[in-house]
Symmetry: C2
Subunit: 134 residues, 2 copies
DNA sequence: TATAAAGGGGATCAAATTGGTCCTAAAGGT
DNA sequence: ACCTTTAGGACCAATTTGATCCCCTTTATA
């Protein structure tokens, strides 16, 4: 239960690689994919999501590629995960939409607590922490 | 991300109904399904899992049905959820199997922390708490 | 101004998972 | 015997996941 998908794994590995490059260094998607051991075309989609959300900046044409849009210390693991997996939502009813049954039941509060706690943990981890080598 | 499936929702609703019955009262699957608003044949599978894990006891034939195998105060939400959704595992690498890449990376510890925290929350909630009406 | 080197984005696809039904067998009561 | 009720397997449609392909646009530079 609650498993991260491949997309999530790949997203994290990809952005960590980017964070490990010298600041300002532009990386090709092919380079990132090779380093992170991720199918290139799949990773390209992931980085498109990153770019749309402003986590990375992309440039096209010769000499193009990807760079972090902010310092790695200002990008949280939550942002990365939510960029590709959508919001942390242990139960549908946590999204505004009222429960299709009576009102919110007692379980509701438990899922809310789970959500809050997980968000808190993932928000407390930044990419620069993850990028530091053992 | 991390969404509970229908099966999980149904499992919780079903066992809460059972916990709301007078102690010792046997409930038919048809009755539980109607009360919990869950497809009956689907719920039957769910309760089979409960029975195998010893959360409920089942009896066949006339007068048969389901009863909680333990007091509702001794059944945790985690047991119920894991019975149908499998263990709380935010990332595959948390299951003994070593990472297919280098060694465990720094992200590993984060998922471990998420797992621990979620398990802790769900272990702290028992079915009798959930069964009490507003 | 070609041309090559990138990323953007849509279409498409196979495999896996989810959500659910159906049928037969087994067990238990009358 | 016969009815009731769960057990368990086979099966199925819809959705999601994990990817690949192809064509388009942007950009540098020869
Ligand atoms: S039954 Fe409770 S947990 Fe389930 S959707 Fe409704 S409010 Fe949420
Ligand atoms: S890269 Fe890290 S988080 Fe991902 S499977 Fe390996 S150890 Fe686990």
């Amino acid at each position: 239960m609650m498993e991260l998908t491949r997309k999530g794994e790949y997203a994290i590995r990809g952005i960590i690689y980017l964070a490990q490059q010298p600041p300002g260094r532009v990386s090709l998607i092919s380079e990132i994919a090779a380093a992170a051991e991720v199918p290139q075309t799949f990773l390209a989609k992931i980085f498109q999501s990153f770019a749309k959300l402003g986590l990375v900046t992309s440039s096209r044409g010769t000499g193009g590629g990807f760079v972090l849009a902010r310092p790695a210390s200002a990008i949280t693991l939550r942002e990365v995960v939510e960029a590709v997996e959508g919001p942390i939502l242990p139960n549908r009813c946590l999204l505004g939409s009222a429960c299709d049954r009576g009102g919110p039941c007692r379980v509701h509060a438990v899922w809310k607590q789970v959500q809050t706690e997980v968000v808190h943990i993932l928000d407390g981890v930044t990419i620069d922490t993850l990028a530091r080598n053992p």
